[in-house]
Subunit: 252 residues, 2 copies
DNA sequence: AAGTGGTCTAGACCACAAT
DNA sequence: TTGTGGTCTAGACCACTTA
């Protein structure tokens, strides 16, 4: 029963061994594109690793690495003794490590930012613990209203370590926080976040243009840079009819 | 500056090459335990891969595999030319691919289930699409109230393919859905989920013991088994003061 | 220049599932 | 018995960072 096994000849032509893009990434990207475009149907079986490796002139570990990438993304399912299959059902994108600003940009909307508060203040205990700074020491405090196409989407509260005190309000109105950090050489690598819900408090109802006491989606996040240092602590609330979190989970 | 580099001698004694547990997993588990217990401090640098490999008598790829495991869990951060460091800040557990029942069990509470509805009915369009069954064909419908220590936590609505029609209400009262599926040889491998918020509808306020129209946290999930087939579609709502979703995100 | 992780190769043996 | 993915080895070369 090798009839409905998908072969991957077209990939051969596009492999580039001179550029900086890893071979395993070229392979996984090509397969991912084929799956998302429907060229490879949901449920289809792929050739085995060794056959693909020979066909593409690559080693088996390189192909394995490409496959693992796609398993982690929830696009493929593998079973020992059986083979590799494409997952049924429409594929949704991952929750990625981006700021809301970039999320909105990527969905082809025009994000807007209004900076409500931007100052430096002593950290409360929770913030000091999250950012690993001494309790009561100064941190940067931000409160912003985020909108898309003129409709308010979220109220964002952030705390940053004091060495980011020179970020300007103008920068914050023009770009996403993560973009500003990246331009300063700070890239976010890891984040812990908690998603919940509650009633809108204080002026949130007004800022989000929803009923007072209406439901909001909340997210708390502590983000770490490439050296493992905490660089951002935030607690945000979102208009639930404008935003939700999508995830793909893969059992290990 | 090799002064504050953590060495990993203790691991050597515990390596077992006879059992079924992979070596890379033994290594990553031991390091994970050391990090979570505080034996290795946040921010600490680890030895380089080759040194660890030699020290433990393993090959470099095996050590790499162990490290990758920990990077994916958000415990380690690696930089080319620099080294490997433990992430700062307290480590939170992953959102895993478990049912709410198991979540509550693992947090040492006594989960309870009340089956509100359990029947077979024609699938509406959204359900049929999610489960990849013909529109209007019969599916299993479940509505359950989940509580912990007597306090209501969630109202769970699930749709299952028709071959699960023989699951009994008694089974559902006694165990989590995923445990029942696993006992039938069905293991969940991949799931797509969306988390949001809204007002409580209909009898949800009563069932969750919250104010009518109060906020609830919602989750929609489509889960797939090892062959990539959709085996569960659910939309649930949670009492926001009793439940939230924690995630660790890692940039790729 | 030295040290680090990132990629890649070419094999080997094993556990598991189907036939 | 055959075919599959899972694990493991022992190297090699490269890109990047720091000194």
């Amino acid at each position: 029963m090798a009839g409905d096994v998908v072969q991957l000849d077209d990939l051969l032509a596009t492999l580039d061994r001179t550029g900086p893009m890893p071979l395993y990434f070229q392979v996984s990207s090509a397969i991912e594109r084929a799956i998302r475009s429907g060229e490879i149907a949901p449920g289809a079986r792929l050739e085995n690793e060794i056959a693909i490796a020979q066909r593409l002139g690559l080693s088996r570990p390189t192909i394995r690495r490409a496959m693992e990438e796609l398993v982690d993304k929830g696009l493929l399912v593998r079973r020992r003794g059986i083979g590799t299959q494409v997952v049924q059902g429409q594929v949704t994108r991952q929750v990625e490590l981006t700021s809301l600003y970039e999320d909105l940009q990527n969905s082809h909307h025009a994000p807007g930012t209004r900076v409500l508060v931007h100052d430096t203040r002593p950290a409360d205990d929770a913030t000091a613990a999250a950012l690993s700074v001494p309790a009561g020491s100064d941190v940067v405090y931000l409160r912003r209203q985020r909108s898309t196409d003129g409709v308010p989407v979220a109220v964002l509260v952030n705390y940053l370590p004091p060495d980011f005190a020179d970020i300007t309000t103008d920068q914050l109105e023009a770009k996403g926080l993560y973009q500003i950090l990246r331009a300063r050489g700070v890239t976010i690598r890891v984040a812990n976040q908690r998603i919940g819900a509650r009633r809108a408090h204080g002026d949130e109802g007004e800022l989000l243009d929803i009923d007072k006491g209406g439901p909001v989606l909340t997210m708390e996040r502590v983000a770490y840079d490439a050296s493992g240092r905490a660089v951002e602590f935030g607690h945000h609330c979102y208009r639930p009819d404008m935003y939700s979190f999508e995830t793909t989970l893969v059992a290990k």
